[in-house]
Amino acid sequence: MRPETEAELAEIVAGLDAPVRILGGGTRGVPGPQAEVNVAGLSGITLYEPGALTLVARAGTPVAEIEAALAAEGQRLAFEPMDHRGLMGTEGVPTIGGVVAGNISGPRRIQAGAARDFLLGVRYVDGLGQVISNGGRVMKNVTGYDLVKLMAGSWGTLGVLSEVSLKVLPKAETLATLTLAVPDAETAVQALSAGLGSPYEVTGAAYDPEAGRALLRIEGFAASVDYRATALTGLLAPFGMVTRLESDPWAAIRDVAPFHNRTGDVWRISVKPGDAPELAARCEAEALLFDWGGGLIWALMPEGVDLRARLGAFSGHATLIRGKRDQRSMFQPEPAPVAALSRGLRQRFDPKGLFNPGLMG
């Protein structure tokens, strides 16, 4: 089913009597029932005010269309959403609805915030086929409950997004990437923490163990970037020799390019950065990539391994991004009282259990 308008979407949902998979471009590899509701037909930017840093678009609008419109005004989506196609081996057109539904954020999340932090408003169709609006198009809004945040990262289980409103930011004039060779994850996280704890506004902090290097990004006006690059080089000297990289590695880090075209399961682990080295060692992974100063670990694992069993109890969560979801759920099981709240919300938003059932517990 492929509605072209929000009203059609609402009508379709109201008439559903069996579970459906919700998708836009279908690039993020989310499993679900055979029957589909595809919102790619709900497309187009409906409002863009560069002077107010605000953009409103229908859920099926291609991310590329939004990025092009923003680039024409020297602006961007600051949360740097990942493109899953290379990692998942999917084709299709990533949509803004998918970005929001998955709360998809890239390296700049560590400094600028996640997709959910830039989401100002949503319109969605609930499980009864009602159109619901929450939030709006202004940057500060505490009017009623923040269902906007709840919808971000709900992976379609609470409702089908029809329109999203986003805060955008000016694009930086230039960037610099500093790199240093480090012997292990422990040293890398220490170096990245030193950078992130400095006043120099690091907007990317990654560690690629296969290349044996830590990477830090700074952005802004050219003179300011030069100044901060020099200051950071001095600050990081105790951890190793710092050099300035000519190429831009951040899209590759964002999209987990080191894992592309390699077999195995892919897990995404969110932890306190300081816990990352020890937890990463517990994985016994085939490959690792660290982002967010160590707070985000990508792990390439042999197929079928239950990574959560290897990790044991830890503070954070592990999501199975790529791999067969048989006994292993995509999302980390929640403690009982939290799981009860999440279950209660799903039952209220989608009482007939239509949307991506079972995906989030």
Binding site: P50, N134, M139, K140, G144, K149, P170, S224, H317
Partner: protein
């Protein structure tokens, strides 16, 4: 402003409730004497007052859990309270409610500079969170004007903002985790020192839920390294429209100041008389602040001043010293106090798209003449969060009602311009009955469904946020069950 009539069954339970609560709390943590409960009869929205049935001051998550379990068993409504600085009546009690104050829970539990977090008990004041980390040159970013007094608990309840959130975001963008007690006494941990949830974003909906979903006892907050320096510049213009256009152009130019504050003539004059900040006499004043090293500040300010010059400013004044910077901010930060010197006032908090600024200001001026009440405008211009201050005389019969009606008109105007009723103060009781102007009945039903899940009996702060007519059946069910 109506509040529901107290439930006589609950009122009659007072002696038993006091007895049960004293079994789990120290003697001095259960306050039942009317002379003392009066201290909790209102928050910073002082026009509305009602002493609670009791007040309790627990010292730990366990004690909060015990209190809530008992109130849940007895079917007694609970109104959580941080420092009582809400401008929206968020902590206003009813006569049949227990005030649960978190003021005794003000410890720092953990500071971790490598991971850039601090964990605190929720009664700790906003400014003292920064106070705990500033020796290491770190700070907690959200800075509501009441930051000296307001508690993190209240900041989370209202998703508080501040002058510097244009760059750093509001509470929800700086909150990583909470320990929260549900109404039945269950303790839940949501979030933590890691980023983003692995399931539904419960933290996102807890933040800003105005104490209606649970009582937050501990919070993990993001702390940031202080910038090397900061410097404000004053810009004077001869009309609100021109100042508004200048704000829009600065934002479009790709410079992102940490703050862009706006004051109109009435506020400028009041602040000048009160704080002697040395502000120029003009129709509209902007304070724009940027951060970084000296050279970075010079560079950003030169770009900003170049844009400002294109708008024929009456004066551009770059701060030349830390002393002058402090003076520039002193005027702005004392704006509410300065207006209070002129008369009683009601402070509004609507947000509008920045592009609608000139139209909205013009319309507020027209309404001011229609109602015969003066209004001063001071607000966070970068993000469109307005704070019109309506002056009235509380001793003059009918003036408060006139002021409320005028305020409601302004808030509706904000919504009609594409904005919202409240940008950072919360709905509380103040904007409760205007919610249907912004949201449809199904929109509100979706929000209330969240409360149904967290607090099925509607015992936590029940008469807030939603219009009484809309929440009536849920609250009535609770009373019938008693």
């Amino acid at each position: 402003m109506d509040m529901p009539a107290p439930n006589p069954t609950v009122l009659a339970k007072k002696p038993r409730l006091v007895q049960r609560l004293r079994q789990v709390l120290p003697e001095d943590a259960v306050i039942d004497d009317l002379s003392e409960t009066r201290a909790y009869e209102c928050d910073a929205l002082t026009a509305y007052r009602c002493p609670p049935l009791l007040a309790v001051l627990p010292s730990s998550t366990q004690e909060v859990s015990d209190v809530l379990r008992i109130c849940h068993e007895e079917g007694v409504p609970v109104v959580p309270r941080g420092s009582g600085t809400s401008l929206a009546g968020g902590a206003l009690p009813t006569a049949d409610s227990v005030i649960l104050g978190v003021a005794r829970m003000n410890e720092v539990l953990e500071t971790d500079y490598d991971n850039r977090i601090i964990r605190v008990q929720s009664g700790r004041t906003n400014l003292s969170v920064t106070g705990a980390v500033e020796a290491e040159d770190f700070f907690y970013a959200p800075d509501p004007s009441s930051q000296l007094a307001c508690a993190i608990a209240g900041n989370i309840a209202m998703n508080s903002g501040g002058a510097h959130c244009l760059k750093y975001g509001v509470t929800t963008n700086n909150l990583l985790g909470v320990t929260m007690v549900l109404m039945d006494g269950t303790v839940v941990e949501v979030g933590g020192a890691h980023l983003d949830p692995g399931g539904l974003d419960l933290l996102g909906v807890i933040c800003g839920s105005e104490g209606q979903l649970g009582v937050v006892t501990e919070a993990t907050l993001r702390i940031l390294r202080k910038p090397e320096g900061a410097r404000p510049v004053l810009m004077a213009f001869d009309s609100n429209e021109v100042a508004g256009a200048c704000v829009s152009d600065i934002i479009k130019a790709g410079v992102l100041p940490v703050a862009i504050e706006f004051m109109d003539r009435l506020c400028i004059e009041a602040c000048e008389a009160f704080a002697h900040a040395g502000y120029p006499q003009c129709e509209a004043l902007l304070i724009v602040e940027v951060e970084g090293s000296d050279a970075e500040i010079d560079d950003q300010l030169s770009r900003i001043l170049e844009i400002a010059r294109r708008h024929n400013p009456l004066e551009l004044r770059e701060s030349q010293s830390a002393e002058e910077s402090a003076k520039i901010w002193l005027g702005r930060k004392s704006a509410f106090g300065a207006m209070g010197q002129i008369n009683d006032y009601m402070c509004l908090d609507g947000t509008i798209p920045v592009s609608s600024l000139p139209m909205v200001l013009r319309r507020i001026g027209e309404l001011s003449r229609e109602y015969g009440l003066d209004v001063g405008n001071v607000f966070h211009a970068g993000d469109g969060n307005m704070h019109p201050l309506i002056l009235f005389d509380a001793n003059k019969p009918g003036d408060l009602e006139k002021c409320e009606a005028f305020g409601a008109e302004i808030l509706k105007l904000c919504v009609d311009a594409g904005g919202c009723l409240t940008g950072e103060h919360g709905v509380g009781i103040e904007k409760r009955d205007l919610m249907l102007h912004q949201y449809s009945a199904p929109d509100l039903e979706a929000q209330m469904a969240v409360k149904d899940v967290f607090d099925p009996q509607w015992l936590l702060n029940p008469a807030k946020v939603f219009p009484l007519s809309v929440s009536e059946s849920r609250r009535a069910a609770q009373m019938a069950a008693e």
